[in-house]
Subunit: 934 residues, 2 copies
Amino acid sequence: MDCKERYIYRFGASVVDGDLSMHTLLGGKGAGLAEMTRLKIPVPPGFTIGTNACRYYLQHGKLPSGFARELTLALRWLENAARRTFNDADNPLLVSVRSGGAVSMPGMLDTILNIGLTRESIDGLARQNNGVQSLALDSYRRLLQMFGTVVLHVPQKEFDVILTKVHIEEKTNSASELPPKTLLKIICQFGHAIESSAGRKFPDNASEQLDLAINAVFESWGNPRAVYYRGMNGIPDEMGTAVTVQAMVFGNAGVDSGTGVGFTRNPSTGEPEIFGEYLDNAQGEDIVAGTRTPVPIAALAASMPSIYNQLSTIVRRLEEHYRDVQDFEFTVERGKLFLLQTRAAKRSALAAVRIAVDMARDGLITRREAISRIPAASIMDIMAAQLDFSAGTPPSIATGISASPGAAVGRIALTAERAVLTAAEPGADPVILVRQETMAEDIHGMDVAIGFLTAHGGATSHAAVVARGMGKCCITGAQTVVVDEAANLVRIGEVVLNEGDWISLDACTGRVFSGQLPMRPITEREPALDQLLQWAIEQNTLTVRANADTPDDARRAIAAEACGIGLCRTEHMFFTPERLPHVRSMILAGTVDERKAALSALLPMQQHDFECLFRAMAPWPVTVRLLDPPLHEFLPALDDVRAERALAALADSSEEVARLDHLIERIRALAEVNPMMGHRGCRLSISYPEILEMQVTAILQAAITVQAEDGLNVVPEIMVPLVATAEEMRWLRGRIDTVAMEVFARSGNSIPYQVGAMIELPRAVVAAGAIAEHVSFVSFGTNDLTQMTYGFSRDDASKFLESYLKENILAVDPFTTLDQEGVGTLMALGIAHLRAAKPNIKIGVCGEHAGDPTSIQFFALLGVDYISCSPARIPVAHLAAAQASVTAHNITDLPATIRSGRKGVDFPPNSRRKFDPRRNGYSCQPPALIPEGI
Amino acid sequence: MDCKERYIYRFGASVVDGDLSMHTLLGGKGAGLAEMTRLKIPVPPGFTIGTNACRYYLQHGKLPSGFARELTLALRWLENAARRTFNDADNPLLVSVRSGGAVSMPGMLDTILNIGLTRESIDGLARQNNGVQSLALDSYRRLLQMFGTVVLHVPQKEFDVILTKVHIEEKTNSASELPPKTLLKIICQFGHAIESSAGRKFPDNASEQLDLAINAVFESWGNPRAVYYRGMNGIPDEMGTAVTVQAMVFGNAGVDSGTGVGFTRNPSTGEPEIFGEYLDNAQGEDIVAGTRTPVPIAALAASMPSIYNQLSTIVRRLEEHYRDVQDFEFTVERGKLFLLQTRAAKRSALAAVRIAVDMARDGLITRREAISRIPAASIMDIMAAQLDFSAGTPPSIATGISASPGAAVGRIALTAERAVLTAAEPGADPVILVRQETMAEDIHGMDVAIGFLTAHGGATSHAAVVARGMGKCCITGAQTVVVDEAANLVRIGEVVLNEGDWISLDACTGRVFSGQLPMRPITEREPALDQLLQWAIEQNTLTVRANADTPDDARRAIAAEACGIGLCRTEHMFFTPERLPHVRSMILAGTVDERKAALSALLPMQQHDFECLFRAMAPWPVTVRLLDPPLHEFLPALDDVRAERALAALADSSEEVARLDHLIERIRALAEVNPMMGHRGCRLSISYPEILEMQVTAILQAAITVQAEDGLNVVPEIMVPLVATAEEMRWLRGRIDTVAMEVFARSGNSIPYQVGAMIELPRAVVAAGAIAEHVSFVSFGTNDLTQMTYGFSRDDASKFLESYLKENILAVDPFTTLDQEGVGTLMALGIAHLRAAKPNIKIGVCGEHAGDPTSIQFFALLGVDYISCSPARIPVAHLAAAQASVTAHNITDLPATIRSGRKGVDFPPNSRRKFDPRRNGYSCQPPALIPEGI
């Protein structure tokens, strides 16, 4: 029954009917004011009309029957609390009427101030406020304007025209500067404007104003922009808005009044101090207008010590209660402090980390809460280099995909060769490699460049992957960029840049700038971040490894507290200038013996690579992936060889011509229509077992050498890429074990080693159970698995992914964040097969997704044992994985197909799965991160 | 206990201990002789020593204890049955000792004839055989030779040397021509050879011969070639062999004796007549030696009517009993007929069909048995053209993959353009297109060529797919072929062929011949095959549709009794010379309006295509797939355009240079690293909805036109290729329906249409349930699904598939026969999702596998509604699908993952699922194939 339902809830002056938990009924604002009242924080008294009244109004076109009486009673109480009287000329009670839904819809609903002010009570208002006439007149002017537009639907521009004219005449900028006479003139003109536009006079009666205002706010729920906003954000139309009616307070009532905005801590630096601004004799909009300069809140300690002390107490109380840093608004009305609003403060990434760590240290929040509060990806911003836009932001010349964060300023190089030459000059400026797209053969140029810009490719293209691996900044898919290698220039729309010109990349936003922009100095490693990460590592049940190919990578991985290398790509070792000739001889070999000869030249180099890597990582495990890319990636470009041949022909060098003809023939023979699905991965090892034999020999000899020479415990894991069937793995396992036996026999020494398979083909997912029988571990290569599952080539997909994201056919790029429904379902299927076949099999993920927080959360829920990402992403991975551990019990938003497959996956709530080098496995004891002896 | 176990089983002379079902114990030969005895067919009497004795012997190195006594009893019985005496000089009993396992191991085990013959009994043997002395002497000579090699391990060449010397001296070729004196000399020399080589004399005692021979046969089970053969064929080593001891009969005992081999029906033509050869006074090896010419068995009707009548009766009895055509051996010994062996006859594909049909007509077998007996793929041989090798087979110059069966003789063309030009000349010879590999742009050249030869690609490369679609012969992956377009020649090893030279392809075996070989005339359509196919169609529960792009294809499909078109590839319609310019304008368009203009030029042509197709197929449904290949396939090759640009630059044609520069830029911009996973399929429709709009408009306007003008019931089905997610399908379905509404509104007429999705990505398999909500049907594109599941590009996989097949890592090419474990499991998963979401959804398969019998069987078990294959494969598909229906109850060899998903799939045993045009669906009533009114 309507008559029994309560619609109005009071707050302020020691009376409070609601609390924070009632935000569905009272809206965020109303519930917040109630909560502040409960905390004995001074707020201007008022009451909130619940969303139930709104719903009734929208449904019936009128307010419920008992409402009027409830409103009268609430007003009577408010008059008492505020010690003013509604509809009274001498001591008028003015109120604000504000909308406020349960879900914030910023700027979408309406607010009216100064309700209750009439021509008759203007003088009374002035008297209340130290006799300031202009305050009262300007308040009335504002009432006319807001009431006119919101309630009577007078177009805003009717008022603007009048105000602008006056400002021109009076040479003023703001209404608060106007003398009373002028304000009176404006009031008069506003009244005419309302009458002629709305066809009725402004209601100069407080009760009528209030009733109309409440109805207008309810009706504003249905205005087109609000409806659109709700549609966009999935907010149900039937929620309705609450209306808060609150006594007005005036910060512009003289020098003992003022207004301020503040943060309980510094939102940029996180420092634990009240931070904000205060302007005396002013209202909120005066701070915004910027015509007068506010003072720091800290200055109040001297000028208004009592107010400052009150504020300090309130700030402590707010943080203790809300357990988070708050952003608050306050007004001082004739020496009396009122808080108007408080809410969780937006803060910089750095501040977020410092605040969370400080609060956890102070015991205000738990360490797990501290971990949960930091958006994992945001810590990249703390660690990455940035351009310095403090002197202004020039127009960007191109925009691409933010493929690897950071910033770089350097000179353009258009080829890897040029990059190497330029960088080798004494005192050379930094180099930025700009290419249509990068390929494996560009790796030496990428090594010396400080950043990459490519016209093609997405967030998982070659350039992106390499950049993240190297921790360098990279922008890909800048589609307007056209590289003209022949002319040694880059065209970007109308802009033409020559090789050697300066260019600046802001990879955090994907913007490209011409010229040499300043960089922000990279600060020292942030101690709060280190602390947070340490907590994250303690909390984490997922082992984090690094994708690392070099001892440098390995050292960075160790420094970031990676528990081993989860992916060492051996192909990168083949691209160095002194090796490429041997690699090419191997590829061009006409017979198995010729191929073996070329491989035996590579063997000592490869073995040296592994020795360095093992030394850097011991005793952590190192997973070495056997050669993966198709062989043609190691051959020069056909056009280059053709050009060389033409020169040789001109020089009558018939021997050279014959050699180049053979090369051309081999390049053609090895060319593939779809190299991603071609002769690569373990298919190479099956066609050319000599390559596998060389690599396995190098891995195991290196391990034996390091163990013998350095006394280090080396744990090599040999990983076979692109496995499709159990038969392949059986065959390869046989070969690997045979080679191992030979190496052990030759050296008279042996070491334990593991053999694993990459699961990156849907075929392998289906066969995972059978594959498990031949391996000790598997690692999901989610890049390739995404490519094959979708049939999306990551080198080509940027061409259509744009339409897909624009049309909302895909919510996110599946190469950036794992597609849980599709690829994730296959992973879950594969893991179910794996665990069924071999419960203790070690399962990892080494695709790019292993550095993406959302994907990491998902991997944790799937119950993988480890993830392996680029060294630069390890802190992010630690944090995201820790967050997954914290929220592991909440699996309701997993796709149903996966949830049902998760039986038996269990997360110990407070333990950390640790690598145990003695058994080359994982345990849940909580020992120190780096085992003793390191 | 050994003493209770029976080892010896008798047969012949109305006594028989075994039967056919005991072949594990008695071996195939022993069981067959027992079975013939049961059928009262005269066989020389004998007994079989079971495999249990062999196993005992191999395990213990000696025969079981009771064995000797059992052998003695069996011999006593045999002496009685044969009316001769073992170890008797006057009337000796001679026996053959033959091995015979349960599984046939041809030529792997040993046989010894004439056991029981001694120096003393030679005269007795001559007396038994019309006094022919040389018969007896030669029998002894053979005994020495066989016993010497098999039992005493004397090298064969010891005997060969002696024989050769005698033949040279006597100027003879065969031992049967030698006079007694010479035979005696040979016997003497053979005796010396045995003594010096084996270190012992030949045992001139019947019992000793028999014991040693039995042991030798048992031991031959372990000889290296037998072990190797078993390893190759997966025959368990512990099976052991049986030994059959059988009384010798002699066909060389005079003119009333002889020997023959026969078939109960003609194995080449299938004609129902005794077929075979008879040679009087001869043994089996004389027929093989070919020194005398045998007569047809039919001639016995005159020369030996009684024998002929006996044979006729036996033949009827054999066929009635074995219910199949038999291949038998027989001997006449002095007017008495003995059958020596019978087994199912090998027969030609044509004979197999005729025999099965005749037998079914005669009621000997059921129609379902007739269907089951024909290897479905073999009927392609009956229908395909063949080279005529009757005048001898020249050496082939290359060998490749038999990608599309048949044969072709024509002149070489190296480019599509040349093929078109050559074929257009008046009185032109047929053309064979020889290319490194074919691409979509070669389609007009493939249209005029009669066969294709490519150096690259496998059984599912572009050339192979197009060839099968066109029913033309094709050899792919002939790796030694090098096409040098620049020099207008082909190099194959040392052979060089010029464009225009004659070449002959035998695509059934993959052989390539230089020059113009004769063709076998293609016979009229075989009535027995038509009958068999009619029965198959009646039996079939799977609907068979055709992949057809042209009205010609459609007519061939109708003639082959296809129930509609399951895949019309619209891209083939874009490659004709008058359309390509419009297609290219569409691709090169800078704005949506330009693109729409180009498309509107294509619209009437495309609409005309569909009108023709609908007219040809009505009222059967036509599934039109929207544009699938990436747009760059329609652009010219970059090298060609560069050459053109160079010419234009020379000619100072700056306008043309600019045009070509733009073209080069677009070709580069559209180029893809992995086009198979690139901007193709429905991704085109999402990026360029104008293309989809044109195609849907053309389809629906064509359908309305044909319905209105011809009064035909047109059932267009619009199929969207390469769908990955339900969101794509929802978006596309919306577009298609919008276009349909516009077409219907414009024309004032409407027709029912269906929208479907191709499931060819693993992502779509996972999402199949959600996709089902937006479609009426789906079709599995198993080519692409195989590519994506394995990550095998079918254009590139031939490079490594060879190693895979050689190393037994793959049993078959997964592009030829569906990989049930991997791709099949995904299909089963998808079908389970589809049926769960929409039980009546129509599910088809339109990949190449839809023409492969093994795969079709599997599809039937998965419960798909229809398969769609190239018109040429439709008879194969009908037959294979019918065989699947016949064996549908037997699903035990399905992968477990699939079996469990098959719940609810039910095959009505004797009904046929028929298309019902009235409801555009399927029913199980058995109406006529083509509905009334056609």
